[in-house]
Symmetry: C2
Subunit: 129 residues, 2 copies
DNA sequence: CTGGATCCAACTCGATACTG
DNA sequence: CAGTATCGAGTTGGATCCAG
């Protein structure tokens, strides 16, 4: 069977409702969650250290930053490098896989920004009713 | 100031950490959540009725389907049409805004699928360590 | 500096029952 | 058919303390 977009989607749907059975969904959930999005956009500027990220993202907690970075690292989207200095420092950066994802993320942000007038109008109309 | 991607991103970051203050993040969260993704892909095939959606998405509950559809409708991504027949029927479809979003969604799915070999390898390597 | 471990409050979501 | 209402289990995430 040819892997047309439509066919792919159907195969996809068959497993997609069971999140734990669909690898694609797992990755998508990791990258689209609240903090990973912001982390990825920080990393686009170049390699960053842990505490720098912590400062750059004013409202994230250490717990969530660590957890998000671990997910991204495990999926091969972010690279973690430990330098055995004193005190120790850890540097995070995008892998090639991660760099390949950023355009899609930015495209969605762009779509959302360009659509905001429509969205705001829709919300106002909806809330009136 | 020119609205380059970089500049836009900086403006963005200023508010992004406070989810309730960033409209873009709100929309992104709505569309990237677990069920909305699947709903949107169903809707791509054409208008669907409530119960049809319920059947198409085996594991979704009425509660979540209603809630997800309401969010999408409020953001102007999904159109809801009520036909006053007996029994009543409600038809959901993509708005133009929603159709404009789907390519981005599909692109991300595509990226995830194409990257799965890398991701699986990364996960295996990570779990060994 | 870079985390791990634990506790606890808040929110999420599914199941169930009910309505026009 | 297309929802709404309510409740309880489960999950999430922030705060705090500890460690290499």
């Amino acid at each position: 069977m040819e892997a047309t977009p439509t066919n792919r989607m159907k195969d996809w749907k068959a497993q997609a409702s069971d999140l734990s059975q669909c690898p694609v969904r797992q990755v998508l959930d990791h990258v689209s969650a609240k903090w990973p999005v912001l982390i990825l956009m920080e990393l686009e500027q170049g390699p960053v250290r842990f505490n720098a990220l912590l400062r750059a993202l004013p409202d994230i907690s250490k717990r969530m930053l660590t957890q998000s970075l671990r997910n991204l690292e495990r999926d091969g989207i972010v690279r973690r490098e430990v330098f055995d200095t004193k005190p120790p420092s850890v540097c995070y950066s995008l892998t090639e896989l991660g760099e390949g994802f950023l355009p899609h993320l930015l495209a969605m942000v762009d779509w959302a920004e360009k659509g905001m007038p429509h969205i705001a109008a829709a919300r106002a109309a909806f809330d009136r009713a």
